[in-house]
Symmetry: none
Subunit: 211 residues, 2 copies
DNA sequence: AGTAAAATCACCAATTCAGGTGATTGTCGG
DNA sequence: CCGACAATCACCTGAATTGGTGATTTTACT
């Protein structure tokens, strides 16, 4: 089925060409609006899968619009579109629930790909925006330096259950294996984490976000 | 000038085709290695602008390699390449200093674009990976509701030692009290936290920031 | 085809833990 | 002064944990 796209963009020329672009690419533009007035009604009527949202609009800003849309229509995926690449705007857009963030200088071809990817559940970002996100991400989590710890799937599963306070016996039951096997896995986990007790393992798992 | 690319990839076939791809796209592959042995030497000789790094390699893992490269050659930009899209691997790679993270199922064309974007200072990410990053990003800014837990000074002290993985005996020694007293305190802590094991207490202590 | 890692199970010893009971201080506020 | 509570210690029992050795099977990669 065709991807239904709604456009919010105050520049008329750009709005029209985006509409044109969408419609000639096997998708369908079910609405193109110059601002976020009557937002709920416009979304309800156009029933979009993906919203292309300009950050800078008269009246309600694109970021506020994202918050409102995400609250009322959580399933709708939103691709921000803007000329700005300030950290705070990017941050605000992501926290508001945007699924992607493209710069307007992006080529039409890439923009279409981005809409497609957004529809399919991915996050489309212009590389420079993505770079800023990684930067922010690192600065937020620079509290503990992360050793790289390679646990097998099973080990991660068991570590998760350990963190939840399960005993070997309970883990054995949950994983359909014997308590002896749990013990073996736990021993391997301890070796990889360089710890010698459950509490150390649990503490490390949480601090290093292994679970 | 041509972009110089070094490849780390344990699978020989893939390594050769990547090399081929790079060389036929106006870039130059200055090195292709099956593992991270002699990492420093190989980087020094190949002088790459961009490193294509497989996460899963025998010996030193790709993530450890990233840490080492970033430490010795901060200017080198690294594009991770892997079949895995586990949160923890992505997280570790980003924190280690990777500039991008592409899935191996990515088309050769997109892979070349990614190398190009990486070289130009952007961050190339497969959309599904980018989605996970946004997810992690949002979840980091969320705050856990905290119950009202009133621990005595001594209890907080002992809980802290528990979180650090100390045994009752070690705690007894550290606090100059008997192991039996530690046991009593721990019992009281469990009651106040509504838990029944060391691991649960440790997990709760960390999540509620009691320590 | 052959090696390496992961996952599985078993047996075993020594230690640790969880929770029950009971008791002695010291401190604080009413 | 008394009751409540924190802090201290002791003894006990059954269950859980840690860590060692050894082995089989499956899966993945070379």
């Amino acid at each position: 089925m065709e991807i239904k796209v709604a456009i919010f963009e105050d520049n008329k020329k750009l709005r029209e060409s985006l509409k044109e672009l969408i419609n000639t690419a096997g998708m369908v533009c079910t609405g193109a609006f110059p601002d976020a007035a009557n937002l709920i009604r416009n979304i309800t009527f156009s029933m979009p899968d993906v919203v292309l949202m300009d950050i800078h609009m008269p009246g309600i800003s694109g970021i506020e619009a994202v918050q409102i849309i995400k609250e009322k229509f959580p399933a709708v995926r939103i691709l921000m579109q803007t000329v700005f690449e300030d950290d705070d705007k990017i941050f605000a857009a992501i926290c508001a629930g945007a699924s992607g963030y493209m710069l307007k200088k992006t080529t039409p071809q890439k923009m279409l790909e981005a809409v497609e990817e957004t529809y399919q559940g991915g996050a489309a970002m212009s590389p420079s925006v993505a770079g800023k996100v990684l930067q922010m991400f690192r600065s937020q989590s620079s509290i503990a330096k992360h050793e790289f710890i390679q646990l097998s799937e099973r080990e991660k599963e068991i570590l998760g259950l350990l963190v939840n306070g399960k005993s070997y016996k309970a883990i054995a039951a949950a994983c359909f294996i014997s308590a002896d096997t749990v013990s073996t896995h736990v021993r391997h986990i301890y070796e990889k984490l360089h710890v010698h007790s459950k509490s150390e393992a649990v503490a490390k798992a949480i601090k290093q976000k292994l679970v």
